[in-house]
């Protein structure tokens, strides 16, 4: 990521540390976006949650996303141990769950349109929170896809170590964001 045009360095940080710091700073920044997002829920509809919210679907999506964090973690661990085939398998599994999640949200929207379209107060909150989050999920799937594309034909992780780690960290962040969105959107009374 750094110093492609500067073969010499005059500081004591290795590229991996610098990349990690950069990603963490970006996560802090994006987390403040989610705080703003969550606070608007309370401003617009208080703590009320309509009866018609699809509770079973919400819980299933949450479990699915948590499981995908587990496979993402396994992908990172496999990459760290140089097990490129394990990493590829786990990356594929994570992406698959991510794509199922996107379709799940699509199905939820299909149902939600009947009960609370975007022009109602709760619809505004629901479509915004899930919409912003599902966009993050899509970027996560896309990032994992790029990483998979880069390691697909190789037998060693090589210089893709950080690519795997960065994509997986991003995926975990997207999951953690959902862990806050889920109770805020579905479970409040």
């Amino acid at each position: 990521m750094t110093h492609e045009h500067a073969p010499r360095v005059n500081h004591r940080f290795d590229p991996l540390t610098i990349n990690r710091l950069g990603l963490w700073l970006f996560l802090v920044s994006d987390a403040s976006f989610f705080i703003a997002l969550l606070s608007s829920r309370f401003f617009v509809v208080g703590t009320s949650t309509p009866e018609e919210v699809a509770q079973v679907l919400g819980l299933s999506l949450t479990i699915l996303l948590l499981l995908s964090s587990l496979t993402a973690y396994r992908a990172e661990a496999a990459a760290e141990h140089g097990d490129v085939h394990g990493a590829k398998r786990m990356l594929l599994a994570t992406m698959a769950m991510g794509i199922i999640f996107v379709f799940g949200v699509g199905f939820e929207w299909h149902e939600a349109f009947k009960h609370f379209p975007p022009s109602t107060a709760f619809g505004t909150v629901l479509f915004t929170l899930t919409g912003v989050h599902v966009t993050h999920v899509l970027t996560g799937v896309l990032t994992l896809g790029f990483v998979y594309f880069r390691v697909r034909n190789t037998d060693s992780i090589g210089d893709n170590q950080w690519a795997v780690e960065g994509a997986v960290k991003w995926w975990h962040f997207v999951d953690v964001a959902w862990v806050f969105i889920y109770p805020t959107l579905y479970l409040l009374k």
């Binding site: 750094t2 500067a6 700073l25 970006f26 997002l37 608007s40 401003f43 617009v44």
Partner: protein, 610 residues
């Protein structure tokens, strides 16, 4: 001609991107039967920006890497390197400064047009809507100048030099944060052709959800600018933490570096809030959501979210300005910076307080009464750290042998102007007086005293101070003095006079006003035109000196900090020999203190003592 190829390719790719995005959007709106126009613009614009970035060189320098292919960064070259995606922080700094100078001059011309309208009470130049669009455009363009000229321009150029680095931590992200600025400018300049927007740069709903398409273009531009600001903040924090030369401990950082760090923390975390505010407006426009309209929705939501960014944003503007001001005062007083550690603490306190003062913009909005007292007190508390910055400036100047060059003149101008700006701010922080003064020209005059008198003067101080380093040429001192004299006097006449109609209740953001305010406004308008003309010697001086000026020595100011210890302009790798920092940055008058020595250190020499 080949030099312009990246820009041409960027424009072509942007057009292709727009067609793709618009096509997708049309497909969707055809199915759902929604109104097609605004979704088409949003999606088309998103794809157009991606196309533009890839076209100007991001694909070659970065995008290929995502697919595991080799990239071509090519940071060297002549003037044509300024016209493409280039990762050298010095090139990016100059790209920022020159682009924003153009924006500054355009927005200045808009201010002249407004003063022409306001010279008498009737309507001369504009209709009411075009006046408000002009006022809004002037506002947002100047906000962009104020946020990005020091943070994107000067700190990009000098901050890596000051800490002894070869570049910033993420050079490609740095280039990305510059190259999203041209789409912002294009959108803003297009917006008057699409009906404009009469909301002011604050874009309060419900008005902002009902403006013509021009308003949507402005909201998209603001959002895009936020991306640049966030990525820039991230990059500077990472750079300051990881790229310092050996021995550059936290206690040895030049004060400008501290101020950029403080401002970066704000732009990293607060900018997201205004992004969300604008996103809500766009959602309300294209999906008919109800954030701001009943039932449930409330326009105050936007005002809270907006000011949660936009009040801290004035500290993104003013903190690096304070840093540059103190830097220049120390070097031209030939004295160590007074109370260095207290200034750092003051910056930290300003950052912390900046997040808990936003609702002083809402005293007249109908927000809960119980919030008035706390926000008044918190807002007034911020004058304590700001006061420390002033005491540091005065303590450094105290009994020093001043070298009264143009950069110092402008830095002293900051001290004078910002004092007036700070004192008049108390009346706006205080609930009782604010209720009378809100939305009058008093607010306009106060704001211009802090941001124009404070920050823009500091930008000129920084511009003259670093001009020899950036261009390798000396500016003309006499023309610089003429510029300062004219600008300082005419600026003060313009905005001191503006307080008077404000205190007797003249509303801001109006094209017509009661005739009894006419005489004062005529004075303001005449002085404002003089102020506009005072930039002519500056433009001539900068252009002429850059082309024909005397060659600048490496260190024309005998300053101690690292950027002056390399050639003017610096080589591609910044330093021919590695700097090793050995002492305080402001060791004036103390023979035993040397800021840095040069040599080739071991590759992973640990920084001392931190």
């Amino acid at each position: 001609m080949a030099a312009f190829m990246p820009l041409v390719r960027g424009a072509i790719y942007a057009a292709i991107g727009f067609v793709i995005g618009a096509g997708i959007s049309l497909g969707i709106t055809n199915m759902t039967g929604e109104d097609a126009q605004e979704p088409l613009i949003v999606l088309g614009y998103v794809f157009a920006v991606i196309g533009w970035l890839m076209g100007v060189g991001m694909w070659k320098a970065w995008g290929r890497n995502w697919f595991g292919k080799s990239t071509d960064l090519n940071p060297s070259g002549g003037w044509e390197r300024y016209l493409r995606f280039n990762i050298d922080h010095k090139v990016i700094g100059i790209q920022y400064i020159t682009s924003l100078v153009v924006v500054f001059l355009l927005a200045g011309i808009l201010a002249m047009l407004m003063r022409a309208e306001l010279a008498d009470s009737g309507q001369n130049v504009f209709t009411k809507t075009t006046y408000n669009t002009t006022m809004s455009l002037h506002g947002i363009m100047m906000v962009a100048v104020a946020v990005a000229t020091v943070m994107g321009g000067f700190s990009n150029f000098v901050l890596p030099l000051m800490i002894g680095a070869e570049d910033v931590a993420f050079p490609r992200i740095n280039a990305l944060s510059f190259w999203v600025i041209p789409p912002v400018v294009v959108l803003l300049l297009l917006s008057p052709l699409f009906g404009g927007f009469d909301t002011g740069w604050t874009a309060y709903p419900p008005l902002s959800t009902q403006t013509p398409v021009g308003g949507l273009l402005f909201e998209l531009a603001f959002l895009t600018f936020g991306i640049s600001s966030i990525l820039g903040g991230m990059n500077f924090i990472a750079t300051i933490i990881t790229q310092r030369a050996p021995g550059m401990t936290w206690g040895r950082l030049p004060i400008f570096v501290w101020s950029v760090l403080a401002a970066s923390i704000i732009s990293l975390t607060a900018t997201q809030w205004v992004a969300y505010g604008l996103l809500m407006i766009i959602f309300e426009r294209i999906f008919n959501m109800v954030f701001f309209s009943p039932p449930g929705g409330n326009a105050l939501l936007y005002q809270h979210v907006f000011w949660f960014y936009s009040h801290p944003a004035v500290y993104i503007m003013i903190l690096p300005a304070f840093g540059a001001e103190l830097e220049i005062i120390s070097h031209f007083s030939r004295k160590p910076l007074f109370a260095y550690r207290w200034v750092v603490r003051a910056f930290a306190l300003i950052v912390a307080l900046s997040f808990v003062v936003w609702a002083h913009h809402l005293f007249t909005s109908g927000m809960g009464e119980s919030l008035h007292g706390p926000f008044m007190i918190l807002t007034e508390l911020i004058s304590i750290p700001t006061g420390i910055v002033f005491l540091s400036a005065l303590g450094t100047l105290w009994r020093s042998k001043l070298r009264l060059k143009v950069p110092l003149l402008f830095a002293l101008g900051v001290v004078f102007n910002f004092t007036i700006g700070g004192l008049t701010g108390i009346f706006l922080a205080d609930v009782a007086t604010d209720i009378a003064l809100q939305d009058t020209y008093f607010v306009v005059a106060h704001f211009h005293y802090t941001i124009m008198g404070g920050e823009i003067f500091a930008i000129f101080a920084a511009g003259y101070y670093w001009f020899p380093k950036i261009t390798g040429r000396m500016y003309n001192e006499t023309l610089g003095r003429i510029h300062f004299g004219l600008m300082f006097i005419l600026y003060n006449i313009t905005f001191l006079a503006m307080f008077i109609p404000g205190t007797v209740g003249m509303n801001r953001r109006v094209a017509e006003y009661p005739p009894e305010f006419e005489s004062m406004n005529l004075i303001v308008s005449i002085a404002a035109f003089g102020l506009g003309l005072s930039f002519l010697p500056w433009i001539y001086n900068m252009l002429n000196s850059w082309i024909r000026g005397k060659k600048a020595p490496d260190n024309p100011w005998d300053a101690t900090t690292l950027e002056w210890q390399t050639t003017s302009p610096p080589p591609l790798e910044n330093f021919d020999e590695f700097p090793v920092v050995t002492g305080d940055p402001y060791g004036y008058g103390d023979e035993t203190v040397t800021h840095a020595r040069f040599g080739k250190p071991a590759h992973s020499a640990p920084a001392e003592g931190d």
